[in-house]
Structures are given as C-alpha cells and as structure tokens.
C-alpha cells in the first residue's frame, strides 16, 4: 500500500531539542532567549528525565566554602580525572562558566543548601580538590530539572511530551528535521526545523546492572551515527563505584558519591578500609596515606589530604571489583559503605535524606545504624557525538549535541558533579551555537518525502509482521553479553565474543514482533529502542577493542596501564559506505598555557607560580 507522507502530521520550529533533561531544557531556554521558535520532545513526561536522579550536586568553582578554589583548579581536577584525554577547550569553558550557570539557576528559583554566611553551600566529592558541589541534600538533580522546567514553561517553548524521535531528516548534508512518534497514539509526526539539538543522554540500558532508567537506549547516539556524524571516546563507559546490590530488583540503583563526600568509608568483609591499598602513584601526593590523616581531613583540618574513598570513580570502581574478586566481598557480592559509624543519625538524615529513604524502603536497611552493601553499576557515557567545543555542533551541519550524548569534556573518566554542570554550561552553548548556525543559513533545508516514508515503514513493520522475536527477550540477551564481555575489565577475546553476539542479535532484531496496536504499546517502544541499543553497543565494543591500553574508565586486562602513545589519539566511529568505521585519530596539540596549568604541581598553581596571568 502506498504511504503518503503528506498525511503525516507536520510541526515547524526553527530548532528542535530532543530530550528534556538538564541539557535539553537549558538548551531550549537559550534558543528561546535567542528568539528562535523552539520545540522540545521528550520520551517521558516533563520533569522525569534522568537528571532527576542526580544526587550529589553540580561542580562549580565558586569558592563559597573554601576561598582557595578557582576555575584553574577545577580545570586541573577535570583534566586529571579524565586522564588528560579531555578536549582542553571544553574543560576550560566548563570550569570558567559553571559558576555563572549555577547562580543563574538561583535567579530562576532554585533553592540550594546554604553556607553559614547565606551563600550557596558546596560539598566535597571525588577528585575535586575543594568542596565544590552546589547541592540540595541529595536531590540536586530534582532541583535542577524543576528549576529549569518551571522557568522554561514561561519562555514560549513548545513542549511535546511522550514523543520519541526515530530518525534525523536531512537535506543533502544539512539537518532538516526529525521523524518522531507520539507514544500515546503511535501516530507519526514530522518536525521540520533548521537545527536539531540532541540531549538524549547515554545508553546505559545495554548493561544488566545499570543506574539508568528505560530511557537510556542511545537514541541520540544511534540517530547521529545513522545521519553520518562522528562519535568519539565511546570506549569510556563509567561504572559508578556504588550502586545498590541487594535486593536483586534494585541492583544497580545509584548510591550517591555524596555518602563518601560527607564522610562515608568503604570496607571489605574483614572490616578493612581497603582503599588505602589502591592509591595510584599519580594521586599519592594529594591523598591521605593513613586513617589518622583521613580522619583529620573529615574533622576539617585544611592541611590534611583527602581520604582515598574520594579518589576518582574509575579508581574506586576497579578497587571494589578487585576486593570482591579476591573473596573479600559482602554477602550479596558487593562491599560495605559505612556512614553510620562516621556521622550522627541526624546529620545523615539531613544531608542524605533520599539515600536514607531509598535504603529503608527498598532494602530494609537503616543507613544511620548499619552499613550499605554497594558495587559498581554502569552509570554514564563519557563518549558521544563529537562536537565543536564552543558551538557544540557535530560534524553534520545543523546537528548539535549537549550533555551526556556529547563527547569531550570528561575524557577517559568523569568526575562526580561535573555532569550537572556540563548540562547547564554546554546546554546553553548548544543554544547559542544553533542560533548562530541558523542566522548563517541562506535557505531553509527541506527533507524529501522518501526518507520519511522509509522511516515510517521501518518502524511499523514491527507491528505488522505475523510473528517474530520478543523484543524483551532480545534486550535481556543484549544485557547479558554487554555485562559479561564489555564490563569494567575488558579483554580482546571477550570483546570479540560481544561483537559476534551483537551480530547474531542484529539478525534476530530484523524479525522483532510487537503484539497489539500502535496505541501506547511498550512492546513496540522496546523494539524500536532495541535498534538504537544495538548500534550504540556495537560502537562501544568496537571502540573498546581498538584502544589497546587502560586509561580511566576503560581497562584492558591484556593491555594494562596507560600507554603514553595512546594519549595522542581519540577513537572515532562513523558510518561508512561499507558499515561501521573505527579510526584512531591524532588529537590536536594542547594549548600551551592550559597544558601548563593541568600539569602544574598543586602548590605552584595555588601560589600563583604557574598560571597567574591566565584569565
């Protein structure tokens, strides 16, 4: 039967933002401020995106709690945390602009916890030299998303809720729109626009144990790939060290790093504070070497060094994995995270109310009286769409990416707290980038009907065929292979096994069948997301296979340690004529002054011996 594209609903905007988490909302607010007609589509209802789950805070060198902090130290921490693979310019922009973005949230109604002087309070977190995370108890993400939402709804932005993007539409090389469908009716809609900002997050749902919700299926990454954009650093997937491990149904649910920031310690089954055994040489100078010194730091001694529980996430996750492997794990296969013996119950309930609530309700554990059991959980993609640092534009003209689905800021490992600040800094920059791009257009790009018709056909065949594979079963299989073969510690044979499994799954996926109609049909939605997950998983696995070293969140058992030579390269993935192309691409030389700051001794940076004249 002929399918007539003119029968499909059409909505026009200057710019369409895909995703309504922190990055999407901040980008939309900026687009609207730039006088663009702005639409936002989101798979969930407004205010439900994964940003809401962020707990600990957003990093910004405001110096409210420790006046010694400034952007250069934040920049240095971010580069060191990312094992120097970060895009230098992005780390610079982020460290410089985060404080202003945080203050702006306050201007829009956010109510952060306060210092004694009435300023925005800041807390300690892994890898950050000073207390730097603006926060609201342990529900900072909720505060961020609600502030942006309540401000955004008055800015003339059109919010299209429960609408899922399927495909980017192009006019030649340029972006011309998005094909999407309404989840409630299953009807299709074509958004015709001059620019698209992807703010779709990562693809954590490819793993069995993950902190991510159903939404994180790599839609933006897969759409960008199909549209010809380059993806970068996709081998770096962050395993957050502390997810819940019991009961099984909540395995992977996040336990905020704020627990450790506020004094929590990690212990093995022998009661040993094992992190002291895993301090890497490069952090030794800035990490406490004894329990006594760590205690002094907690008591507020400004000369004491930070406890090893606050090493970067990659280090802590690997250490926990090693303890469990050595047979010193907790009863349910994790380690113990103890704040009960460190802080009074009132303090814990005040600073970590959601954690208290979450453990008492879901695990029947009172964290003010007993330790939690925790283990690593797939949390975050450092990699994503390769973008220009200042405009956030991808290699496809008119296609932008911000937040987790963009690459560059975090390099090989993200510091906790640098994600929420990433969203608001680069969300805004993507908005100005899109506005500049649109102003420079001489003609409005238009998508032809063929792409639209093909996209609709591809989506509806899942409903139309008589029988076929159950998408839920395929998703389970995908999670099994990614968990087993593309985990925290990787090795060539297993990565190749994953690729073979993915190949088989791709074939099975061609026959997926969703029973029922197109009306609010989760089976169909699951099948459509499986396509994005498969593309995303393959990109991660191929990139992981190419990087033959261990750096940050990417650990290769067959190539231990960082290899100096690999610091010169990013792994780039893009769609070629013959399929997926994986390339080892030389990085540009770092700007000399930034390099000096990132590699400076902390004393020299703080005394002004290095970097004093850099604005």
């Amino acid at each position: 039967m002929a399918l007539d594209a003119s029968q499909i609903q059409q909505i026009e905007h200057d710019v369409l933002v895909v995703g309504a988490g922190g990055a999407g909302l901040r980008a939309a607010i900026e687009c609207s401020a730039q006088k663009l007609s702005t639409g936002v589509i989101s798979k969930s209802l407004l205010g439900k995106a994964h940003t809401v789950m962020a707990e600990g805070g957003m990093a910004a060198a405001m110096g409210n709690v420790d006046a010694r902090d400034n952007w250069k130290i934040h920049f240095r921490d971010t580069m060191r945390g990312g094992k120097f693979l970060n895009v230098w310019r992005m780390a610079e922009l982020h460290a410089k602009q985060a404080p202003e973005r945080v203050r702006e949230l306050e201007e829009w109604g956010a109510v952060f916890d306060r210092t004694k002087d009435g300023l925005i309070s800041q807390r300690n977190f892994g890898g950050h030299r000073y207390p730097r995370l603006a926060h609201v108890g342990d529900r900072t993400g909720l505060e961020l998303i609600r502030s942006l939402q309540d401000h955004g709804i008055h800015q003339g932005i059109d919010f299209h809720m429960e609408c899922t993007a399927l495909q980017l539409l192009k006019d030649g090389e340029r972006i011309a729109g998005v094909l999407a469908y309404w989840r409630d009716t299953g009807r299709f809609v074509v958004f015709r626009c001059k620019a698209v900002i992807l703010a779709t997050g990562g693809g954590g749902k490819a793993w069995k144990i993950t902190s991510n919700s159903w939404e994180y299926t790599g839609d933006g990454l897969a759409m960008a790939y199909e549209a010809g954009a380059e993806l970068m650093d996709m081998e770096f997937t962050q395993f957050h060290p502390t997810g819940m491990v019991w009961p099984p149904s909540v395995r992977g649910t996040l336990v905020t790093e704020g627990v450790r920031g506020d004094g929590g310690i990690l212990k093995n089954s022998k009661g040993e504070r094992f992190m002291f055994n895993y301090i890497p040489e490069k952090f030794a100078a800035e990490t406490a070497s004894t329990i006594e010194e760590a205690q002094k730091w907690l008591d507020g001694d400004k000369n004491a060094r930070r406890p090893p529980e606050l090493l970067t996430r990659d280090e802590v996750a690997r250490s926990i994995t090693a303890e469990i492997k050595a047979g010193r794990g907790s009863p349910h296969g994790g380690v113990f995270l103890d704040i009960a013996s460190r802080r009074p119950a009132e303090f814990i309930k005040r600073k970590l109310p959601s954690m208290y609530h979450q453990f008492i309700e879901l695990a029947e554990v009172d964290i003010t009286a007993e330790p939690m059991e925790v283990g690593p959980t797939l949390h975050y993609f450092m990699g994503g769409v390769r973008v220009d640092a200042d405009s956030q534009m991808s290699t496809v003209p008119g296609l932008f990416a911000a937040g987790e689905c963009g690459a560059g800021l975090h390099g090989a490992n993200r510091l906790g707290g640098n994600s929420l600040s990433d969203l608001i800094v680069f969300g805004k920059l993507a908005g100005t980038g899109a506005a500049d791009y649109i102003r420079g257009l001489t003609a409005t790009p238009t998508a032809d009907d063929d792409q639209i018709v093909a996209g609709v056909r591809h989506a509806t065949e899942i409903l139309k065929r008589d029988s076929g594979a159950n998408p839920y079963v395929l998703h389970d299989k995908l999670q099994d292979t990614m968990q087993a073969n593309v985990g925290i510690v990787r090795v060539k044979d297993e990565l190749e096994k994953a690729l073979a499994d993915l190949e088989a799954l791709k074939h099975e996926a061609e026959t997926m069948k969703a029973p029922g109609t197109s009306q609010y049909n989760p089976g169909w939605h699951e099948a459509l997301s499986m396509r994005s997950l498969l593309v995303t998983s393959e990109i991660v696995t191929r990139a992981a296979l190419m990087r033959e070293e261990s750096r940050g969140a990417h650990t290769r058992n067959d190539f231990p340690g960082e290899h100096e030579e690999w610091l010169q390269y990013n792994v780039i993935v893009k769609k070629g004529a013959g399929g997926m192309e994986v390339e080892k691409r030389k990085r540009p030389d770092p700007p000399p002054r930034l390099k000096e700051i990132a590699h400076a001794k902390i004393e020299d940076l703080e005394s002004g011996k290095v970097g004093a004249d850099v604005e």
Partner: protein
C-alpha cells in the same frame, strides 16, 4: 520464589476490565517489578509509566488495592502471602491505556502560576539567604510531581478538574514561591481568587498519600489560607494598613484588567 495473584486493569478511554495474572515473585520485589515481569512475558503491550525505580521521579503512580501509590516503592512483602493485588490507573485522570492516564491537566495548572520573580542581587552579585529561612521552601521543593495528592483530592475529584482549585501539588508550589525569601511578587490575591485556596477543606488526604512525606496541608496550604485571611479579613491588619497608608492588592491581576 512464590506465585502471586494479580488483577491488572486493562483497557482504554472506551472501557476495560481487570485481567488476572499469576506471577512468580522473587524476594525484594516491588509491585513495579511484577508488572514488568507480566509485560515481558504475558502482555508485551501492557502500558505503564516508570523511570527511576527509586521513588525519585514520580512516574509510576497508580492505585494499588485502592490506594494511590508509587508502584516502585510498594514492596511485595507489604501484602499478605495469599492476598490478590489489584492494580488500576489513577481514578481522577482520564485513562489513555491500561495504567497510563492523561495527567496533562496538571501541567496546565503549573503554567497558570506566574513565575519566580527574584529581588535584585546584592552588590557583590550574590543572593544571601539563610538555611533556616529556606528549610520550609525546600520541604515543598522535594515534590516529585507524582500527582498522587491531586489524584486523592476530593475537590479535584468532585469538580472533575475544573480550574477553580489547582490542587495540593500546586498549592505547595505556590507556597514555595510565596515563602521563598527572594521572591518579590505579591501572590496572595491570585492564591485566593485564581487558584482557590479557600476550596481546600483540610481533610489531609493529600498529606497522607505523599511519598515524599511533605506536610502539604499543615505546612503549605494552611499557612497560605492564613495569609489570605490576613489580607482580606483581619480588621486590625486592614486598619493598620489604612493608618500607615500601605497599599495591598486585593483584586487579582485578571480582575484589575477587566
């Protein structure tokens, strides 16, 4: 593992009925886990909303054995071993399909509320406010917009969501603005005349169902009612304002515009 009996409402705006399911339940499971198992095995197209699975996003609201609840925070061991668990969509909002309802009315109410209007910043470019002054506002800002309070509110149910009363969720949103140390807007006439603070008859059903344990009625709605009374009905305050020539708005902005 044990088999548990479920009755799940299935249907759409045109009607529907409860369908029985017998499901294997593992230790530690919550109602949402069981629904997911039904979805993956027996009913791929069972419609429901969820996101965080940790009581932080407020997506998976439904009525479980007649009580408005978050299904992700309702543990299976909170029921008797032989109890049949009945799950249905929120009653106050129109059904879209199965357990999914059309909650767009709530988003419309939020949009009616004028946005935060901060006082000017201090000379050093900061806003100063103290923890003790923001504690009560932070309580309201814990709201995860699950709309269980809206679902259970008699006023909203009886009046079939006319816009006369915005409901408990938005009363505390108004309270979070009205009590915000930096907010410079005068919101009292609208709270009375547009958003219907007088219509709440303080049965506290909303407070009881709040999964965030926000004291909606006592800390939010009642103080707003008191502020309205002070403005409109307190003779001493009115006299005081007259004597000192203080002007306070009593008409709402839409009344003034007429």
């Amino acid at each position: 593992m044990s088999k548990r009996q479920f009755k799940v409402w299935r249907g759409d705006a045109k009607g529907g009925e409860f369908k029985a399911f017998s499901v294997e339940v593992d230790p530690g499971m919550v109602v949402l886990d069981v629904l997911h198992r039904i979805q993956a095995t027996e009913a791929n197209d069972l419609a429901l909303r969820w996101n965080c699975k940790a009581g932080k996003c407020g997506s998976c609201s439904m009525e479980i054995n007649g009580r408005p609840k978050l299904s992700c925070m309702t543990r299976m061991n909170s029921f008797g071993p032989d109890e049949t668990i009945q799950v249905q969509p929120l009653k106050t909002f129109p059904v879209i399909k199965d357990l999914v309802t059309d909650v767009s009315w709530n988003y419309e109410q939020n949009k009616r509320i004028p946005k935060f209007k901060p006082r000017p910043k201090e000379a050093d470019g900061t806003h100063r406010m103290y923890q003790e002054d923001v504690d009560r506002v932070q309580e309201f800002r814990k709201c995860i917009e699950c709309y269980l309070c809206q679902d259970t509110c008699h006023v909203i149910r009886d009046r079939e969501r006319t816009d006369a009363f915005v409901g408990p969720r938005f009363m505390i949103r108004l309270a979070s603005l009205e009590m915000h140390p930096l907010d410079a807007d005068d919101r009292i006439p609208e709270i009375r005349k547009e958003f219907g603070s007088g219509m709440c008859n303080i049965t506290r059903c909303c407070t009881e169902v709040c999964p965030e344990h926000i004291n909606i009625t006592d800390n939010g709605i009642i103080p707003l009612k008191e502020r309205v009374v002070d403005r409109y009905f307190d003779p001493i305050a009115i006299l005081g304002r007259k004597l000192f020539g203080i002007r306070r708005r009593t008409k709402s902005r839409s009344e003034e515009a007429k």
